[in-house]
């Protein structure tokens, strides 16, 4: 409907009842571990996090993999830069997998590039899986609650709160305008699509400004003051089973890291 499917999924995930702070702590600990660790441990993290997301949180596999693949497009785009080296002909002294001569220069792919890319690939994969765990299991409203508890400046949390609320208001409007244009025969051909999109952006801006004016009155009626404090309710329940698994899992990962390469 409106593309922000991630948000809807995160409110429906099966791990929603766990305290958000715990989930964020687990994900950040793993992220840190992944960024300093090595390939074997990173592979283990990918598997473990995939289990959390797909099995425990019940996020559809199709969506999880779509997320992974599209995110990896940045990695794919950067590949040529990482693999291909260039130098003056005759200066190349390393083992080469492929080479092309271009005048007095030579473009080549050194064997060492492959291992570099291999290492980078698993680091990004592992980080992505931790990132996915946050995206799919912690709704933004709860992230905001954690940020408040971490004593972020009030201004930051206030702005995030207003933005989060109005992102959905404006997305809905833009979606409806888009459907209306299509219903009236718009988006016919390339040029018309562009013109319609331009009109949509302009209209969206007008609506956004009107929303602001109305919101200003609405907030004034509720006694809008300097800060916008709110109180959140939790029905989170700690789960022995999941806490045990995360702690044991992290310890195992540290052991694995120490055993396969340690911190040299």
């Amino acid at each position: 409907m409106n593309g922000l499917q991630l948000d809807s999924l995160s409110y429906q995930n099966r791990l929603k009842c766990l305290p958000p702070a715990h989930k964020l702590l687990l994900a950040s600990a793993l992220l840190l571990l992944v960024l300093v660790g090595h390939v074997w441990m990173q592979m283990a993290v990918v598997v473990w996090m995939t289990v959390w997301v797909v099995v425990y949180a019940q996020i559809p596999v199709r969506i999880y993999f779509a997320f992974m693949i599209v995110s990896l497009s940045f990695f794919a785009a950067g590949l040529p830069a990482l693999l291909v080296e260039g130098a003056r002909a005759g200066e190349v002294q390393v083992q080469v997998a492929a080479a092309w001569e271009l005048g007095s220069y030579v473009l080549y792919v050194p064997m060492s590039s492959f291992s570099k890319v291999w290492i980078l690939f698993w680091r990004t994969m592992a980080s992505l899986s931790c990132f996915a765990f946050i995206l799919f299991t912690v709704p933004f409203a709860e992230i905001l609650q954690v940020l408040r508890r971490l004593r972020m400046p009030v201004l930051v949390t206030d702005l995030l709160m207003i933005m989060y609320r109005f992102i959905f208001v404006l997305i809905t409007i833009s979606h409806q305008l888009w459907i209306a244009q299509r219903s009236r025969g718009g988006h016919r051909g390339f040029r018309a699509t562009l013109r319609d999109a331009g009109v949509l952006v302009a209209q969206l801006f007008v609506r956004a400004m009107r929303k602001y004016e109305a919101l200003h009155k609405g907030m004034a009626a509720r006694g809008f003051g300097e800060s916008m404090q709110v109180l959140s309710f939790h029905t989170h329940a700690r789960s022995r089973r999941y806490e045990w698994e995360s702690i044991a899992g992290c310890m195992l990962l540290v052991l694995l890291e120490w055993w396969t390469g340690g911190w040299r």
């Binding site: 922000l4 992220l31 830069a81 933005m163 040029r191 801006f205």
Partner: protein, 237 residues
């Protein structure tokens, strides 16, 4: 229909041709450095570079908000608008689209430091709601898109206006160059993290900049045109 309206219509069409050509899925969001791409040391470094600007930005907004509390609402709605613009053409979970569109415009309107706050928040939402970019790389992305971009936009705009250039030119140049600056900084960040074996950082910069030039240079031009259109429209409203 007067002449300037005709001109702006043509501009709008040209702008959107470019914009949509380049914002098809897969290519468009290539400038958000993905989660885990940067090594820990560089990720931390860019966070450290970003934070002072962020704090300055918070201070400058705080000053505005003290006098006009309702500005908080306006800034929030403006941020939501910027996010929605960047999310408009989303086909799937992860979607297409680009950097916080309108950083240039925002910088001219709110000042560069306020933009560093707003821009980084848009980036955070892009990461959390659209899976563009990442959390550890948020610092690096914020430096290129929410700090350098707006600074360049603001500087160029002020400079051209002082020299006495036309306002439209100033807005166009500000937005387009802000985009280019963003792309250059991102390339530098990648080059620093992955220096080439021969030629080091410089060669690596050439490689990354070369790859992303295909999408980013035309994108900068289209963003410039788009910003001019919105600007015209704002003035007439």
């Amino acid at each position: 229909m007067n002449r300037s309206r005709l001109v702006s219509t043509c501009l709008m069409i040209a702008g959107f041709v470019l914009y949509f050509l380049l914002n098809e899925p897969e290519t468009g969001h290539a400038m958000h450095i993905m989660e885990g791409y940067l090594p820990l040391s560089w990720a931390l470094f860019w966070w450290a570079v970003f934070l002072p600007f962020f704090i300055l930005g918070i201070r400058s907004i705080n000053k505005i908000v003290k006098e006009h509390p309702e500005m908080k609402l306006l800034i929030g709605v403006a941020g939501a608008f910027a996010f929605v613009l960047s999310a408009l053409k989303i086909p799937s979970v992860t979607g297409s689209s680009s950097h916080p569109t309108g950083t240039g415009l925002g910088a001219i309107m709110f000042g560069p430091f306020a933009m560093s706050v707003l821009g980084s928040m848009v980036l955070l939402f892009q990461a959390l709601l659209l899976a563009h970019g990442g959390l550890t790389t948020l610092g690096a992305n914020a430096v290129s898109m929410a700090v350098v971009g707006p600074l360049v936009a603001y500087g160029i705009y002020q400079m051209i206006m002082k020299v006495g250039g036309s306002q439209r030119l100033a807005v166009f140049a500000a937005a387009a160059l802000a985009d280019l600056a963003t792309y250059v900084v991102t390339s530098i960040q990648l080059a620093l993290a992955f220096p080439a074996e021969s030629g080091g950082v410089l060669a690596s910069f050439a490689k990354f900049a070369g790859i992303f030039a295909f999408t980013q240079v035309p994108l900068a031009i289209s963003e410039g045109l788009l910003t001019v259109l919105v600007w015209n429209w704002l003035l007439s409203y």
